[in-house]
Symmetry: D2
Amino acid sequence: DRPFALIAGPCQLESRDHALMLAERLARAAELAGTRFIFKASYDKANRSSLAGKRGIGMEEGLEILAAVRAEIGVPVLTDVHAPDHCAPVAEVVDVLQIPAFLCRQTDLLLAAGRTGAAINIKKGQFLAPWDMANVAEKVASTGNTRILLCERGASFGYNMLVSDMRALPIMARTGYPVVFDATHSVQLPGGQGTSSGGQREFVAPLARAAVAVGVAAVFIEAHDDPDHAPSDGPNMVPLEAMPELLRRLRALDDLVKSG
Amino acid sequence: DRPFALIAGPCQLESRDHALMLAERLARAAELAGTRFIFKASYDKANRSSLAGKRGIGMEEGLEILAAVRAEIGVPVLTDVHAPDHCAPVAEVVDVLQIPAFLCRQTDLLLAAGRTGAAINIKKGQFLAPWDMANVAEKVASTGNTRILLCERGASFGYNMLVSDMRALPIMARTGYPVVFDATHSVQLPGGQGTSSGGQREFVAPLARAAVAVGVAAVFIEAHDDPDHAPSDGPNMVPLEAMPELLRRLRALDDLVKSG
Amino acid sequence: DRPFALIAGPCQLESRDHALMLAERLARAAELAGTRFIFKASYDKANRSSLAGKRGIGMEEGLEILAAVRAEIGVPVLTDVHAPDHCAPVAEVVDVLQIPAFLCRQTDLLLAAGRTGAAINIKKGQFLAPWDMANVAEKVASTGNTRILLCERGASFGYNMLVSDMRALPIMARTGYPVVFDATHSVQLPGGQGTSSGGQREFVAPLARAAVAVGVAAVFIEAHDDPDHAPSDGPNMVPLEAMPELLRRLRALDDLVKSG
Amino acid sequence: DRPFALIAGPCQLESRDHALMLAERLARAAELAGTRFIFKASYDKANRSSLAGKRGIGMEEGLEILAAVRAEIGVPVLTDVHAPDHCAPVAEVVDVLQIPAFLCRQTDLLLAAGRTGAAINIKKGQFLAPWDMANVAEKVASTGNTRILLCERGASFGYNMLVSDMRALPIMARTGYPVVFDATHSVQLPGGQGTSSGGQREFVAPLARAAVAVGVAAVFIEAHDDPDHAPSDGPNMVPLEAMPELLRRLRALDDLVKSG
């Protein structure tokens, strides 16, 4: 029952300087709160609501930036993969490969990710029950790699809305794998703005508190210095300056909950 | 930001002795945890899944027992009403009238309840959005009675299952009325056992923790000395002996959350 | 496998002349289409979204108008009841008592309705699975009255929206009771306009066709000569002048489906 | 308003002889019913519930069999693709590329499929609103290929269940692209049998009738000579011998509906 780890960063990589700045400030906030920190950022947004959404800077430049964050800030890094043949090259640079929610049932991607030996954070599909994730994890584990995290990020609830079922956290924990709560995508309003997804930033903090009170191994929060002008997920990213106080409160809750 | 109040008791009244025993033990547990306590029990289960379910001991005997609990244990009492003409006689005995979730849109019941001047705990219908409760509360408030509580008890999620949307708590709080989280009915599996409702008692504690971490004015938990043989809601009632520890943990969380 | 019956009328009674006009024109449209016709109208809207919504003209005047429709137009009439003690007086005038969806689990109301010996149309609650309606019907049948109709009117689907699950029709038909499809309330957007419910009139016809193609005993459609100025459910009522063509098409489908 | 086309075949290819037999019999049934016919089968099940599920015979052998069906039975063929680089080789053999529901937001796959110039059948994700499919179709159309079909196959409804929202058919039709109703996967119970998905074969016919009554360009039905022993989707496949009668009835409905 160690303190929760923080997985945080911008939704997508924008530039090397921007990534280093964010990683540095998030690392400091995490240190202050006494939580381990994994920097998260995407180099490719492969499933935007519409073609008009920015795709990202691409794998080559993205991996260079992630390597720089790892080397210069000294923190582990996480990024998401969308095709089996990306897993090996990405795993040479990053510590944690993330399987996107829409792709959590794609067997080849899960196997390729597992074979890298990297830690694998699997987002639960919006269309899956929490107990269905045992079969998903088993696909990765069949490669001999059991460094698996299972991540709740909201379940489909009518159209253009997700709901965070907090029962999912203990249910997924029955697998024995650490459970992550993604407070950012849980408050997404998918497709809710016509050609992009909306979000409800104001619920990130209460849902993160709820998840920590239930008990989680890690909390996933996207943060940005200027969320309203970020190229993706702006409506649900937390302003960078709000992170230290948010983490302080989550950490205190986590301590209390884990001390029984 | 006072500590949360505890609304607790058996699902339905069984006998005077049983009610007094439960009230006494729950009052002690609440005192130990430093929470105010309101005894809850129903004298009539007016909407059982099937006719085979026990209806309850009736209004006359029920009110006598509730009056006894009030007088002998010295705690306020809450019960639910199902028809407008029951509101006045029930309000002569109880402190809080509760509007059942299925009935939360019945204007006459809300007005009759409001006119008694008693506090009114309105369960949010499983079919309602949290923001829809502002109109519901306004019906009661139109009587001049603003002693209103709004209670989350789960939203319909597919068939025979509810989901607790923790966003509902801050959304309902925007009305200015205190918000209650009903941890017992939120884990109901409505109709899930053929002629009665199932439940998932194991999620009462984590969901109650989640709600307290989000921030609530009161927590509603049904408890019983022998839940597996209780005449209703057994599958989701908490064993009486588990209450002191559950309350202790919730109270510590509540303190932390409300101290900021 | 007789042709479907039509249950139609305005959402609420407005005046005697208005009711007679609507009943007369709907009866003619039904006759043209070769369907039996039951006039439907409410004298009391007991569960409006907000207090600001019009309640209706009341029981006394309402029953007079329904009696007039029955006598002068020569058609059976249906209205909804909201309290056990209304069942007997209403049943003296109307042919079919309707149990509102929110109230479909209220045992006393079901028993009182059943005891009148009138036919009982039970709306399926938005919060119920279709198989749960067997227990609901059994409550009425316990009175010895098996003149029961079970009516699908949409299931909760996220917030402020319903979905029509067409599987509900054959599932409810397994009870042996005739099944009704309410094409008007199935397209309601409950609470979707702040203090009233919105609706999607454009889907009444396709959903009614779908239900008839699956197979139903009756179709329920609210119609109005000026739906945009009706006191309730305007957004989902069908303009009166569209009814003859809608019925003609439904009747042709029904014939085809029932001829196998 | 031509008669609906039939997209039918087994869930996955089993052998050349089996595919030819099924294609031949389905072609005959379609001819009898007067509907155009597209043979559908998968060579790879890339997203089985668990690793224990059979993956399929692979692309090379699969394409040989599909080419044989095309040549020997003289019908167009459809298969699904799971990776961008599969699109071109598959499109050399098949007439229609299908985008799986879980993958309907993967931009690279949609673009690669579009660039082949083949017709593209896009399954609507279980997590998407019908109006969100306009953005999805636009991704394909951006390649200059507008030979697009949009396919309803059920929306997430709680856990382990889908619901067919018939409103989705006219909503998707607003894009101007032909709309397909997949009656087989709409009755899937995803993950509902532990390590595989369950299904409700008995609802294929009523839901197909409902969709045809609403109005569709094509109906998708998986069929098998021995569904209970099929390697995948057995619980929701229709027995081959039931197809002629099912098609006859759907065709009669379709005629009636499209004649107005």
